[in-house]
């Protein structure tokens, strides 16, 4: 017993390693095919066909795009800060990937008698962790824009940073209302509360809507894609970037989109809960592992729906002007989020009596 500190659960390490590699590669592949989906959705909305030359229905298009980005000349401007210039896209990519750590991707699976939850880590401050990581995403934009040593990049980076920071406020306030309803910051508890019961979106419709709009802004998607202002700021914060460094910035945006879609499904739409079916009965009838697989697929289906919503909005509405963007955030959304929070708090207190 005196060696208990040294007795290390190696299976635990392997299990988590496999999970991390699996989830990271799945999110990379999904981000890759998001670029394809985006082009297809854009084409369909504009009465076109979209990429259809590389492979059947053009499904090899993302590979061709990635190949193109890899083959391009790597340019580092000699007036730039070399280290920060490389750090920028790395940070953007890193923060985009890190958020997936606390998301429950499905129920527990039974691996030769070992109960493996499909979640990398179930920390009790899951939502706070997500907030911490998401706010680090600003550094990718800021460092990239600053290190380029280019006025346009810097201006766009400043705009992007202030936008992302501003929209974090209503996002946080919207989530506080949700936390009052669920009573926990732990992701597994939030999903568990929605399993086989009413989804949080019913209790928090306004909170969900605010979160959705803020997610658009956080991912720098249209109508809030001002950091990428190609018409007035000459391409935004990644103007000086080329080759795969530019690719990483663009890729990070798509991973962010995927992660925020997963977050929305998890927090407001029941996570991996299969709608209209009792998950507990399913475990008894078809077994634990199959249920977990189905649950994972359900989560991906919900996510795909949100990703389509992201793209649909992007190809429908034009970009906001910068003052409109800031007015919308500070004068409309923050008061709304505050009101939502106060009302939720009052109702929760009243019901607890």
């Amino acid at each position: 017993m005196q060696y208990s500190l040294l007795a290390f659960d190696w299976f635990f390490l392997i299990e988590k390693l496999v999970l991390i590699i699996g989830i990271v590669s799945v999110s990379l592949v999904i981000a890759m095919y998001e670029t394809y989906a985006e082009r297809k959705v854009a084409a369909f909305i504009q009465d076109r066909i979209g990429p259809n030359r590389a492979g059947p229905f053009g499904i090899l298009q993302p590979l061709a795009d990635g190949m193109k980005l890899f083959m391009k000349e790597e340019i580092i401007p000699n007036t730039s800060n070399r280290m920060l210039f490389i750090l920028g896209p790395c940070l953007a990519m890193l923060t985009a990937m890190m958020t997936s750590a606390v998301i429950p991707w499905g129920g527990t699976i039974d691996f030769f008698g070992r109960q493996v939850p499909l979640q990398i880590t179930d920390i009790n401050i899951g939502i706070l962790y997500i907030f911490g990581v998401v706010s680090m995403g600003v550094y990718g934009i800021m460092i990239g824009g600053w290190a380029s040593n280019n006025k346009f990049s810097l201006l766009a980076a400043l705009r992007g940073a202030s936008q992302v920071i501003s929209y974090e406020l209503p996002m946080g306030l919207a989530l506080i209302a949700l936390l009052m309803v669920t009573g926990s910051l732990k992701m597994s508890t939030i999903v568990g509360g929605q399993l086989d019961s009413i989804y949080n979106v019913v209790y928090q419709p306004l909170g969900f809507f605010l979160f959705l709009v803020c997610a658009f802004a956080e991912c720098n998607r249209t109508p809030f894609d001002l950091p990428e202002a190609e018409n007035e700021l000459n391409f935004g914060y990644h103007q000086e970037y080329s080759s795969m460094k530019l690719g990483f910035y663009l890729f990070a945006e798509y991973i962010n989109m995927f992660i925020s879609s997963v977050l929305m499904s998890t927090l407001f739409f029941g996570g991996y809960d299969i709608p209209f079916v009792s998950d507990h009965n399913l475990v008894e009838s078809i077994g634990q592992n199959w249920t977990a697989l189905l649950q994972g697929l359900t989560l991906f289906a919900k996510t795909a729906g949100f990703i389509f919503l992201f793209m649909w909005v992007r190809w429908t509405i034009p970009r906001f002007r910068y003052d409109q963007l800031m007015n919308l955030c500070w004068k409309r959304m923050i008061p709304l989020a505050l009101a939502n929070m106060l009302i939720t708090a009052a109702v929760v207190l009243w019901l607890k009596k």
Partner: protein, 185 residues
Amino acid sequence: MQSLTSRAKQVDRKPMTFLERIYVWEIFKGMMITLKHFFKRKATIQYPDQKREFSPVFRGLHVLNRDEEGRERCTACGLCAVACPAEAITMEAAERLPGEENLYREEKYAAKYEINMLRCIFCGLCEEACPKDAIYLSETFAPSNYQRKGLIYPKEDLLIPNPVTEPEEYKKAVGIRKKQQEKAN
């Protein structure tokens, strides 16, 4: 002031209503429009696989015609060159020698006949000026070229294949439109 078109619209500068100011409803309406387009038939014509048909009055590349026995119809009268507003046609006449009756229909023929496709505006006036039905505009267009001189077409490029010696090629060159016209008559 009288408006220039019947479709002119007065710009509406009324302040936005509440529904418009909160954006959401208007954005939703816009999204319904894009959703409609999502399921619409696509306008794309997949060019190399699918080709769009030319209109029946399309005027393409010139062809110098032959008669049924395969003799060139052109007599180098120069009316086409005179009619040409772009001055794209150049020709030199020559006299038919004895023994060349199977090559040229009249006593005079075009020894040199060039059309500069860079100058040509494909107006079809040469076709209308020709008293001998010797030149007409076909259903194809001039392919691109790397050099200017490649776009000055000599007589060999313009002449239609001989219907006697190369009937297959001739049929192809006559094209669909001619057949349609014949069918209509």
